[in-house]
């Protein structure tokens, strides 16, 4: 009887943990192109930066990122890591149009630098060149909590190529900080403690989806 109970318990634990693991992986995209027959899968994004920034404790300085998210995916057999960042500032005067154009430029030879928990720095090459424009909201406008200042923000989604070796390295431990190179500029993300395993998690999820022939979404 004892043996039967312990087998049942072990089976129950295994089942529960497997379910929990599967529940962890969420996807925002899984489709097969009708013409090329190439399957594209992308995990749901994970917020890396602290939500405290939403309560007036936003990181300051020219290189600070207000919100940084990470997601991973693949297109056919090509894996990628995607960084989604929001850079914002409050300014007293209406910004001229030229200042909104090409606010963040990421040239082709740029990298994403990832500081791992053991102190090593990994470098991922950007998939292509990018350029992003800014938007502004006047004082008291939608989404702008300031009565006096214009809210200027730039949202950037940047893809970085991942190979098998890099996926093994990045999933082996936590990451603590990231730097997005953007020409002579850069943007830094300090990963909050509870999100330090999130990059490894989203990579693991897309690897799992790649191995599965059943659609994950």
């Amino acid at each position: 009887m004892k043996f039967f109970v312990s087998v049942l318990t072990t089976f129950a634990i295994l089942l529960t943990s497997a379910t929990a693991n599967a529940a962890k992986c969420k996807y925002e995209d899984d489709e097969v192109d009708k013409f090329t027959n190439v399957r594209t899968v992308q995990s749901k994004q994970k917020l890396l930066t602290s939500m405290m920034s939403a309560f007036g404790r936003a990181p300051k300085g020219p290189h600070a990122v207000y919100a940084g998210n990470v997601t991973a995916g693949f297109e056919g057999d090509d894996y990628f890591l995607e960084m989604r960042i929001l850079v914002e500032t409050y300014i007293p005067d209406k910004p001229p149009r030229y200042e909104l154009e090409n606010a963040i430029v990421v040239p082709e030879d740029s990298h994403l630098l990832i500081l791992m928990a053991d102190g090593n720095i990994e470098r991922l090459p950007v998939s292509r060149a990018y350029s992003f424009n800014s938007e502004f909201v006047p004082p008291n406008g939608p989404g702008n909590s300031s009565k006096n200042d214009y809210w200027k923000s730039t949202e950037a989604h940047i893809n970085y190529a991942l190979d098998e070796h890099m996926m093994t390295v990045l999933t082996s431990q936590d990451a603590t900080n990231m730097r997005i190179e953007a020409g002579e500029d850069y943007y830094d993300i300090k990963i909050q403690k509870k999100s330090r395993g999130d990059m490894a998690e989203v990579i693991g999820c897309v690897q799992q989806a790649h191995a599965s022939e059943v659609p994950v979404k």
Binding site: P96, R97, Y98, I121
Partner: protein, 209 residues
């Protein structure tokens, strides 16, 4: 008994004055970069415009100003200059006029003329475009442009700047249709005593970081 007291007083005075000196250096940045492992230091901005001249400038609606900071990235030191220009206009300028209002190209010169008339010539680290705004000062429409330029500076030049006072600062730039610069595409600033002191203060603070 007198002697030990005097000695102790001198020591105490020295300790207090050196602490006060160190405390007077305010740094905006004083940290090691996580990725490059280089030490990054940047002093606060020191305005080189005296209070009197600032008051006069406000009276005549002239908001031109110049500030200085000292910075370092690893072994490389920089002098940073923050310039503000303004010019009266009749109508709101076009986007192109605003974009081309002020540009400091990589390699543009900063000339510092010392008291003995010798010159220190520095070159801008990278191309910087001015941040230009259209607004009004006392009901008069104006265009205002701000720019921050970093100039790499060697140890010899820093020593020379600490040894004797700077008299003039000349910044070369490219201006669009607004009267920010003279006919040689330069802005000249005569340093007053306060400006000189602040220039020296910024460089001294850098060496203490």
């Amino acid at each position: 008994m007198n002697k030990p007291i005097t000695f102790a007083t001198i020591i105490a005075f020295l300790v207090i004055s050196s602490a006060a000196d160190a405390a007077s250096c305010k740094f905006k940045v004083n940290e090691v970069d996580l990725f490059t492992k280089q030490k990054l230091v940047a002093t606060e901005w020191y305005s080189m415009t005296s209070a009197m001249s600032s008051a006069f400038k406000i009276l005549v609606a002239d908001r031109t100003s110049v500030s200085v900071a000292a910075m370092s990235e690893g072994d490389q030191n920089f002098i940073a200059i923050k310039l503000k220009f303004n010019d009266g206009v009749y109508n709101e300028p076009s986007n192109e006029d605003m974009r081309d209002a002020l540009l400091v190209e990589k390699g543009s010169q900063l000339v510092i003329i010392l008291e003995d008339e010798s010159q220190i010539v520095l070159e801008a680290r990278k191309t910087v475009r001015g941040v230009t705004r259209f607004g009004d000062v006392g009901g008069n429409p104006v265009v205002e442009s701000n720019v921050v330029v970093h100039y790499p500076v060697g140890d010899e030049d820093i020593e020379a700047l600490l040894e004797q006072n700077a008299g003039f600062v000349i910044v070369s730039a490219t201006a669009g249709r607004f009267a920010f610069l003279d006919s040689n595409s330069q802005a000249n600033f005569k340093m007053n005593r306060k400006g000189r002191d602040r220039f020296t203060e910024a460089l001294t603070c850098l060496s203490k970081a």
